[in-house]
Symmetry: C2
């Protein structure tokens, strides 16, 4: 397809697509003569991924470039390619807690057999979230953390198990979009379920 | 206790406490002579609640006043008092989706036996979250929504079941703080569990 069709299929204006080409976020099409190039479905998928990373995940272009490099590097496993997008998501909590919270987090990881990459930002984010609760006088009990971890496993098994994409770019796009956009779904459902649990108990 | 002790116990400066007294967010202490008043533990708890509603939940003072009125109105049930704080939390999603998403939400509520107050903002927030996913080409399957709902029930049963406060103000404060501050805990754990589920499958 020509540039005009790529613009139509992706919903992006031509100047935006040209910008992504210059920034090497989109590989060049197959040259046809001196000024035209032919694009295919892989370009449509790549544009979807770039928009998901920038618009939905709010990533800077440097991080987007890192994700794309991991996806294009076929020496990396599927998990590593998707993980490269995942670990570049902004952490939900900026603070990283004190040593006490850091060791509580490690204990939770150990109890649930969870192994994290040594550079993973999730460990610090979780410790920071625990620190905020403790500062306000509501340190969560182990029992609560374990219930949350159990629920997280239930959800993650479904999230990862339901991935059907066979293309690395499509899988990474799905992983980022669904990780981020399902967060409000989960949190809203938790509030609904709380309202219901509270009503049942107060009858 | 005197004002100075109340300030120390609550960690709030005296002018802030006086402001809350003028705004009727804090009931007056027991008058002792013309210029002094005696405060007790209920004032400390009330200040904690006001700070949780303003600082953690980001509520406007009008909403804070509504929550306090519900807590002080002993004709309301425990559930209604805590619910008044809960329903005044800002919804996580501003958009409310189309009719198609609204009816998907109603179907999920029906399948899980969830009943919502007719004024609840959660219904619209959930429909809005589904609309965002659909717009980006990732409409969630019913199976996914049901897995998330199951996890939400697991969590909410624990959240509501572990409430030990016998005082209405303390219970409302706990409900607001734990609803909000446990959200990053849950989301971070989901990301950790996803990383692990993905690693296990790619071995």
């Amino acid at each position: 397809m020509w540039m005009s069709e790529l613009s139509k299929r992706s919903g992006l204006p031509v100047p935006t697509i040209k910008y992504y080409l210059r920034e090497e976020l989109l590989p060049p099409g197959e040259a046809v003569g001196a000024t035209r190039a032919n694009y295919d479905d892989s370009h449509v998928r790549r544009l979807r991924l770039v928009r998901a990373l920038t618009d939905v995940a709010g990533m800077r272009l440097d991080d987007v470039r890192g994700v794309l490099a991991a996806i294009d590097d076929t020496s990396l496993s599927w998990h590593e390619a998707i993980g490269s997008a995942h670990t570049r998501l902004a952490p939900l909590v900026a603070d990283s807690g004190s040593e006490a919270e850091q060791s509580r987090v490690q204990a939770v990881l150990d109890r649930h057999g969870w192994q994290l990459d040594e550079h993973s930002r999730h460990r610090d984010a979780l410790a920071g979230a625990l620190a905020a609760l403790t500062t306000l006088g509501h340190p969560p009990k182990d029992e609560l953390l374990d219930t949350y971890a159990e629920a997280a496993d239930l959800i993650a098994e479904h999230d990862v198990g339901s991935m059907r994409e066979t293309d690395r770019a499509a899988a990474a796009e799905h992983a980022v979009v669904s990780t981020l956009l399902l967060e409000p779904v989960l949190l809203t459902m938790r509030r609904i379920a709380q309202e219901n649990a509270s009503r049942r108990r107060s009858r």
